[in-house]
Subunit: 368 residues, 2 copies
Amino acid sequence: MTSSRLDQLNASLRTFKLDAVALNPGPTLTYLTGLHFHLMERPVVLLYAVGKDPVIVLPELEMPKANLFPYKVNAFAYGENPAEWDSVFRKAVQSLNLDGKKIGVEPRQMRLLEFRHVKAGAPEADFPDASGALSALRLCKDPAEVQKMKRAVKVAQDALEATIPFIKIGMTEKEIAAELNVQLLKHGSESELPFPPIVSAGPNSANPHASPSDRKLQRGDLLVVDWGATVDGYISDLTRTFAVGEADAELKKITQVVLNANEAGRAAGKPGIPCADVDKAARAVIEKAGYGKYFTHRTGHGIGMEGHEEPYMRGDNMQLLAPGMAYTVEPGIYLPDRGGARIEDNVVVTKDGVEVLSDMPRELRVVG
Amino acid sequence: MTSSRLDQLNASLRTFKLDAVALNPGPTLTYLTGLHFHLMERPVVLLYAVGKDPVIVLPELEMPKANLFPYKVNAFAYGENPAEWDSVFRKAVQSLNLDGKKIGVEPRQMRLLEFRHVKAGAPEADFPDASGALSALRLCKDPAEVQKMKRAVKVAQDALEATIPFIKIGMTEKEIAAELNVQLLKHGSESELPFPPIVSAGPNSANPHASPSDRKLQRGDLLVVDWGATVDGYISDLTRTFAVGEADAELKKITQVVLNANEAGRAAGKPGIPCADVDKAARAVIEKAGYGKYFTHRTGHGIGMEGHEEPYMRGDNMQLLAPGMAYTVEPGIYLPDRGGARIEDNVVVTKDGVEVLSDMPRELRVVG
């Protein structure tokens, strides 16, 4: 599998007119090698130059991993003293004759730590953004990847269902988040969750990126839970909104509008349309209901090995959907100081529409 | 608290002759602001110039956080379209007149994503490594920080004690790791563990950085568990070694040698000595026993908000210990294809020695 992925990388670099790519630990490195490396104070870099065997620079204590590569790799190991690292990187970079070349990087993943070591070995090289060439590899999920995403969705849904009976008025957001975390692991998520769950109620739910707080659930709150699981390196990212005890008419109304927007967003996806159309479909519902200015973020983002990846469902994104692309549909309405609602599902583009991976009830449920 | 930390930053930048610092989400940003920002595809950067009010660049949807700063901050927010981000960063950087100046960065934390946006606003600036100036702030823990570390140690120890009765011959490393993860959260760890626990047995235990595998525990294995908890943003990082059913004479012997080395390493710490002396004290025990070449890593690393931070217990590190510095002592012996042993504790330097934060029994215990 990963050997053919290396062939795809080679082709993609040619297409994007890059001579090479430098990758540090992260999803792309895992995708291409099948191996997990730590992102730590010791830099690890895979150098791949078009048509050549890949090179890995890594600490000596990680050398056993060099034997686990699914293809031939030339390993350059360094010791514990950082003063020696530049010279090892220089040898590695020079072994591929990379100086003066175009060495693509992932700016969202590559740290100055790794970058400066690579640059020390190729001071005259260019380091263009290779996110496009690399995300192209991971953009369309194969059936095995979709299976993993489905399992990540199932684990997440089962974990939240197991948490709901635990939720009571007077409990804090943090307590609910802690229980949900435990349930996620018990139901089979890897311990590295895609992100810490958001559990936000009452006024806090009006902040799309709230962290769970010590505020206690009160009757009448909206409760937003945004959570996900990791299974075999693939993730889910879902949101459901609940009413604590009851909800007033306007909070019920915005939740219904968000549900309608979520349905419209899910229905809009199919091959050949721009991502912008998914955003527009969901946004139109919310704007028509008069809440447009309270929907303050894009409608969704790509999903797979990362919580946020291409393609992005933004009104200005003319990237065309294609079979295998996976993304979230997550419209929301946030009324400052009162409360917010968001409903998020995960979908994969099929040959004529989308498959919705998540099926947990979306209607406003009463908890507590 | 965080206001005085800003004063300390100001003083540290003057000492290190830096005009400013640019920080992205991570421990230093949290230390200085008391706030958590996401490390994501949307860049967040705090710019601090000596003697001026800090500036934060962040996405519009994170703007509510700008009001939570413990001091005055000038916020520059950008929308969802990445094409606009450079101009917002330029305004922010120019508001501090930073072009041509020395803007310190943390290479281990700063990604090319944030760096390139900052650089776009200050193309003639230098971006020296400010890790020294910044880690100096966090290097010596105050009593409140030590309390949090003690709680992180207690949560970790209680979680492993709760996991031990669960361990049986025939169980996989992954199953044990999953149970330990659940117990860590149940005992009060934050969901963002400092690192995924290492549970490695038999030949896998000879790899200091093994990931839990599907290999089943066998009688006679050494079982290494390297785990930690996060409490209030501070972490613990411990290792204990167990015998599954029984262990042969040499495996028992290396575990005893490692325990002796751990004791020597813990005993060596006190203010005024170089970190190297801690490494040498532990290493001498292992070398004397004839296993020097199987102790393939440094003796320890600093610990606090990060799993690995300064000071590093390396044989070449002449940095002097001072009260409040916290670090791990974790010697190990790894016999390839047979098994390994490591025993790791967390200590804080006091006025005349160290306080050992962890007290879980270190002797070889039989499990399964």
